[in-house]
C-alpha cells in the first residue's frame, strides 16, 4: 500500500511522456553495485483498519494519565489542555504547511509566531525571543553557545539543580565545541552561593541556574545575579515549568540575560517526552546573535501590515558555517499550541494556573509530611514540586503505588545518590484533593506495611 495516487496505467502514460518504458530506466543513475536487489526486510503493509487496531493495542500497553494518577514532574508537566487548543492547532492549513518562507501565503503562521514571541517576552520579562528551539535542554545549550561565542571556549558554570538531562546534554555539546562546564554544588536544595562565588572567574562566560530548580525549589535568583554581575558572564535562567511564571517574578525583573525554557508545560501533550518546545528569550542586546527563526512585522507594497521571517543573516541557510546555530526545522506547531493555550488562559487564567499548582503542591507536601517516615528534604520555598525523603527505596515504593493505579514521584537516587532514598513529587492543577489524599493514604499503608 501507499499514498501514491497514480495508477499503474497512469504511470505508464507518464513514462511514455518522459521517453522511457519503466521506472527502472529512470533509476539507471544508481550504479548496480549499490542497488538493493531484494525487498526491504520490513513487516508487510497493513491496511488502515488493521493498522489502527494494532496501534490502539500498542497504545494501550502504556499507562496513560487519564487512567493513572501521576505525581511525576521532573521536567515534563501534566497540565490540562483546553479543547480549543487541539481543535485550532489541527487546522490543516497550519499543520500541513512548511516553514513560512513565502510570507504572502503564510501570514497565519507568521502572525501566530509574532504573537508567540510577544507572549514569551511577556512571561519572561525579556525583550526578544525566537520562533522556538527543539526543547528546553537544547535551549540551554544554545544559551551556552551564545555565551561562549564564535571562539567556543571558556567556562560555563551550571547549578547541579539544573535538570540532570539538561546537564548531560550540555556536557555533550561542550565537549564537542570545546568549552568547559563546571557544576556548582547545592545547599539545602538550591545552588550554593559560596560555590558560585568561588567558581566565578574571568573565564566565566555564563552562569546557568534553573528556577524553580529541578527539586521545585526556588533559587535565590537576586543573590545569584549580584554575584554574576561581578563578571561579564551571561546570566542564564533555565525553566522547565513555565506555568510557574503565572505567580513568580519574571526573570527579566531579577536581571536574567537569557531565559532558556521548556514550553511543553504550556499547551502541549506530554507525549512520552516529545515533541517538546524550546523557548529562548534574551535581552535586546543579543538580538542579532539569537539562534533560530524570528518573525517580524513589516508592511507590503500596498502599505498593509504583514509579517515575515527576519534577521535571517544569523541563520544557517544564509551564513552556513558562520551561523549562530545550525537549527533549521524547529517546533513551530508547538509554539502555535502554546500561543493558543496562553490566549485561552489569558491574563487571569494564567495567574490562577500558577496559584493552583502552587497551592495544590503545598497541600500535598503537608499531607505527605504527615505520613510517618516521610520528610521534606529541603526547607526552602518551592513551586509545584518538592523532594521527600522516603522510608524505603523509591523503586519499591513506586511499585507498590503502581498496584494502586498511582504513579509515584520521580526517584532521585540515581541522579543524586547523596540524598539517599528520596522522591520528587509534582502536583499540578490536574491533581485533585482526592488524588492527593489517596496518595497520602497509600503511602501510609505501604510504609506501615514495611515497618
Amino acid at each position: 500500500m501507499s499514498y501514491v495516487p497514480n495508477t499503474a496505467a497512469e504511470q505508464h502514460e507518464m513514462l511514455r511522456a518522459v521517453g522511457v518504458d519503466t521506472i527502472e530506466q529512470l533509476l539507471a543513475p544508481v550504479p548496480e553495485p549499490v542497488r538493493l536487489r531484494r525487498p526491504l526486510d520490513l513487516p508487510a503493509a497493513l491496511p488502515e483498519p488493521d493498522l489502527k487496531r494494532l496501534m490502539l493495542g500498542l497504545s494501550e500497553q502504556n499507562a496513560d494519565l487519564d487512567h493513572y494518577v501521576s505525581f511525576l514532574g521532573a521536567g515534563s508537566y501534566d497540565h490540562y489542555i483546553p479543547s480549543v487548543v487541539p481543535h485550532l492547532v489541527k487546522r490543516s492549513e497550519f499543520y500541513t504547511s512548511y516553514t513560512p518562507y513565502q510570507p504572502e501565503i503564510s501570514q497565519g503562521m507568521l502572525q501566530a509566531i509574532y504573537e508567540f514571541q510577544t507572549m514569551a517576552c511577556q512571561l519572561t520579562g525579556l525583550d526578544v525571543t525566537n520562533a522556538s528551539l527543539y526543547d528546553g535542554s537544547t535551549a540551554v545549550v544554545e544559551a551556552a553557545l551564545l555565551a561562549v561565542g564564535p571562539a567556543g571556549t571558556g567556562d560555563v558554570l551550571v547549578s547541579r539543580a539544573l535538570d540532570p538531562q539538561y546537564r548531560a546534554t550540555l556536557r555533550t555539546y561542550a565537549w564537542a565545541r570545546g568549552f568547559t562546564v563546571r557544576e556548582l554544588d547545592l545547599e539545602d536544595g538550591a545552588t550554593s552561593l559560596a560555590a558560585l562565588e568561588a567558581a566565578l572567574s574571568s573565564e566565566t562566560r555564563a552562569v546557568i541556574i534553573q528556577h524553580p530548580n529541578f527539586f521545585g525549589t526556588l533559587e535565590d535568583v537576586r543573590a545569584v545575579e549580584r554575584l554574576v554581575r561581578r563578571t561579564n558572564a551571561v546570566y542564564v535562567v533555565a525553566i522547565t515549568e513555565p506555568a510557574s511564571l503565572g505567580v513568580l517574578a519574571p526573570p527579566g525583573a531579577y536581571g536574567a540575560d537569557i531565559v532558556a525554557a521548556e514550553g511543553q508545560s504550556l499547551g502541549s501533550p506530554l507525549g512520552y517526552g516529545g515533541p517538546a518546545l524550546g523557548i529562548f528569550a534574551s535581552r535586546a542586546a543579543f538580538m542579532r546573535r539569537l539562534p533560530g527563526r524570528i518573525a517580524g512585522k513589516t508592511v507590503d507594497e500596498r502599505g498593509q501590515t504583514g509579517y515575515v521571517l527576519t534577521l535571517q543573516t544569523r541563520e544557517q541557510h544564509i551564513r552556513r558555517e558562520r551561523a549562530t546555530s545550525n537549527i533549521c526545522t524547529n517546533q513551530a506547531l508547538l509554539a502555535l499550541a502554546t500561543t493558543i493555550y496562553l490566549a485561552a488562559l489569558g491574563k487571569q487564567g494564567f495567574r490562577e494556573l500558577g496559584e493552583q499548582c502552587l497551592l495544590r503542591a503545598h497541600y500535598a507536601q503537608e499531607r505527605i509530611r504527615a505520613v510517618d517516615g516521610f520528610r521534606p528534604l529541603f526547607g526552602r520555598p518551592f513551586y509545584d514540586e518538592f523532594a521527600v525523603a522516603t522510608p524505603l527505596p523509591v523503586a519499591q515504593l513506586n511499585a507498590a503505588l503502581r498496584e494502586r493505579g498511582i504513579i509515584g514521584g520521580y526517584d532521585l537516587s540515581h541522579d543524586y545518590p547523596e540524598l539517599g532514598d528520596a522522591a520528587l513529587f509534582c502536583v499540578t492543577e490536574t491533581r485533585t484533593r482526592e488524588d492527593i489524599d489517596t496518595l497520602a493514604a497509600a503511602l501510609e499503608e505501604i510504609a506501615g506495611g514495611i515497618s
Partner: protein, 498 residues
C-alpha cells in the same frame, strides 16, 4: 479577511476563555508560602479574550495560510507530501499522547516496543546497524552524527582530525553543524555532471592529509542527481581516514532502491518529516534519527530501546557514548507517525513511494525543459533544479516566478538553492501528487514562461491575489519589530474593536 488584528488587540479587561479545575485545597495568601520578592507583582499582560474570540482569531489566521491540504507544494528539498490523517489520529491516542517520559518501563511497554521496532525499520531502510531516535530534526541529527564521528576518532587516538568536507551544493545546516561540532569545513566543488568533482576531492584529501574527519553529503544530492561515483568517493575518503556522513534529507528517492550503508556511508540521518511524511507543522516538529555502522555503535547517545523476549526496556548508554543530545527519548509523537507510515506502506509500498517520486520529478522536468534552463541535463531522482537565467534576462527573476505561482494557488518551488545554480528553481513534486496536478503545474509554468517573455512586469508585480503583497524585508531587518507592545497605556488598547 484582508487583515487580522493581533490577539492582544482583541478582548478587554476581565475577559477569559479557559476554565480551571475547582480549587479544592486550602488557599493561604501566596506570600505566606513564597517570599514576596520572588513573586510577580502584576499578572503577565497576556491577552484577555473569550473562547469565541480565540477560536475565530486562530481560525482566521489558518485561513491566511497555505498547507499541503490546500494545494500543490513542490518545494525542493522539503518533501511536502501528503500527511496521512490516520497518523495524526494515532499520535493523539491517549496511550501515546498522555504518557509521561519518566514512567516506569513496566508502564510503557507499548511505547518502548514501538521505538525498538522503529529503530529496526530505519536500520533496514538505511543499511545501518543501530539508530538513535533522539535527534529532534535533521540538523540535530547532523550534529549528533558528527559528534559520533568525533568520539570515534578520539577513541582511535585521532582527535586531531578537524576537517569536514562538504560539497558546494550542500544545505546550510551541514556546514553549520560541522562548526558546532568543533570542525573546520572545506568546500568540495561539483563537477560538470553535478556530482562531487573527484579530482578536486583528491586534491583536498591530499591538502589536508591526516586532518580529514568526514565527508558529509546527500545522494541524490541537492540537484536531485545521484552521484554515480559514490563508491569511489567513499573508498577515497575512507582511505584518507575519514568517515562518510549521509544527509538523509533526500531519502525519499531511495527507499528500497539503494541504501546509504551499501554505498559506504558510516552515519546516516533521516528527516522523518520528509521521508516518512510526518507533517512539517509550519516549521516543525520533525525528527532526525541517526543510524550508524557497526563500528560506531558504542558512541551512540543513550539510552537505546532494548528487548529481551517479550520485555522491552531502556538500555543506558555505555562509557564511550557521546552522552545525551536532548532530554527524553526524542520527538516521540512524531516517531509514532513515522512508525504508522512505515507499517502502512510495508516494503513494497515504500519502494513504490520512492520510484513514484522519481517518476513524478522526471515527468515535470521533461515537460518543462524547453522553457527553463536545465543546468545538469540528466535523469533526475526525486527532484531537480532549473535555472531561471533565461527569464532573468527577460526581466523576471526566480523570485518573480515564485511569486507569480502564488496567483495560481500553488506553492512555489524552493528558490536560490542550491547556491551553485544561479536563479535556482528547485522542484520536488513528491509521489503523492496526481498526474492532473502535475499537468496543471506544467501548464502554469509554461504560461509563466510566456508571461516572462511577453509581460515580465506581471511577474515582477506578483502576487496579485494574496491577502498581502510582497513584504518589505529590508525594513523588517533594519527596524526589527519582533513583538507587540501596547501603543500607549495598556488601558487604551483594550477597547480596540475586533
Amino acid at each position: 479577511m484582508s487583515t487580522e488584528t493581533l490577539i492582544f488587540e482583541k478582548g478587554g479587561p476581565g475577559r477569559r476563555a479557559a476554565t480551571l479545575p475547582t480549587l479544592d485545597v486550602p488557599a493561604p495568601p501566596l506570600d505566606t508560602l513564597i517570599p514576596a520578592d520572588l513573586l510577580r507583582a502584576e499578572p503577565a499582560p497576556l491577552p484577555e479574550v473569550s473562547e469565541i474570540e480565540v477560536v475565530r482569531h486562530y481560525t482566521h489566521l489558518s485561513q491566511r495560510n497555505f498547507g499541503v491540504d490546500t494545494g500543490f507544494y513542490p518545494l525542493g528539498s522539503c518533501t511536502m507530501k501528503y500527511n496521512p490523517k490516520l497518523n495524526e489520529d494515532m499520535a493523539a491516542l491517549p496511550g501515546f499522547a498522555r504518557l509521561h517520559p519518566q514512567e516506569d518501563a513496566s508502564l510503557t511497554q507499548g511505547a518502548i516496543r514501538l521505538l525498538y521496532e522503529l529503530e529496526g525499520y530505519l536500520a533496514e531502510i538505511s543499511g545501518m546497524r543501530r539508530v538513535t531516535l533522539q535527534p529532534a530534526a535533521g540538523a540535530h541529527g547532523e550534529i549528533t552524527g558528527l559528534m559520533i564521528i568525533k568520539a570515534h576518532h578520539e577513541h582511535q587516538g585521532e582527535g586531531h582530525r578537524d576537517v569536514v568536507l562538504i560539497p558546494d551544493g550542500a544545505h546550510g545546516t551541514n556546514p553549520a553543524s560541522a562548526t558546532l561540532a568543533g570542525y573546520t569545513t572545506v568546500e568540495l566543488k561539483s563537477d560538470a555532471h553535478g556530482g562531487v568533482d573527484v579530482a578536486h576531492l583528491e586534491r583536498v584529501l591530499a591538502d589536508h592529509q591526516g586532518r580529514i574527519a568526514a565527508l558529509m553529503m546527500t545522494n541524490p544530492n541537492t540537484l536531485g542527481l545521484f552521484d554515480e561515483n559514490i563508491v569511489e568517493i567513499a573508498r577515497r575518503v575512507h582511505a584518507a581516514g575519514g568517515q562518510l556522513y549521509y544527509d538523509g534529507a533526500n531519502a525519499n528517492a531511495i527507499m528500497g532502491i539503494t541504501r546509504p550503508g551499501d554505498m559506504g556511508f558510516d552515519v546516516v540521518h533521516f528527516n522523518l518529516h520528509k521521508t516518512c511524511s510526518t507533517p512539517h507543522g509550519g516549521g516543525g516538529p520533525g525528527a532526525g534519527p541517526v543510524g550508524v555502522a557497526e563500528h560506531l555503535i558504542p558512541f551512540l547517545p543513550g539510552p537505546l530501546p532494548g528487548r529481551e523476549g517479550d520485555d522491552y526496556f531502556w538500555e543506558d548508554a555505555g562509557p564511550l557514548s557521546i552522552g545525551r543530545m536532548r532530554a527524553n527519548c526524542g520527538n516521540f509523537l512524531v516517531l509514532v507517525r513515522a512508525y504508522t507510515y512505515i507499517r502502512f506502506n510495508g516494503p513494497d509500498g515504500l519502494r513504490h513511494v520512492s520510484a513514484s517520486a522519481v517518476l513524478n520529478a522526471n515527468y515535470i522536468m521533461r515537460a518543462l525543459r524547453d522553457e527553463y534552463d536545465l543546468p545538469y541535463d540528466r535523469a533526475c531522482m526525486h527532484e531537480f533544479v532549473f535555472s531561471a537565467n533565461r527569464q532573468k534576462r527577460q526581466g523576471a527573476s526566480a523570485l518573480d516566478i515564485a511569486k507569480r505561482l502564488l496567483d495560481f494557488g500553488m506553492h512555489p518551488p524552493t528558490i536560490y538553492f542550491p547556491l551553485i545554480v544561479p536563479e535556482a528553481l528547485m522542484i520536488e513534486p513528491t509521489e503523492t501528487e496526481t498526474k492532473e496536478t502535475l499537468d496543471e503545474f506544467i501548464a502554469i509554468m509554461r504560461q509563466i514562461a510566456r508571461e516572462a517573455r511577453e509581460q515580465p512586469e506581471l511577474l515582477r508585480e506578483a502576487p496579485h491575489i494574496t491577502v498581502v503583497g510582497r513584504l518589505d524585508q529590508t525594513l523588517a531587518a533594519r527596524k526589527p519589530d519582533l513583538r507587540w507592545q501596547p501603543e500607549t497605556a495598556p488601558a487604551a488598547t483594550a477597547a480596540v474593536a475586533t
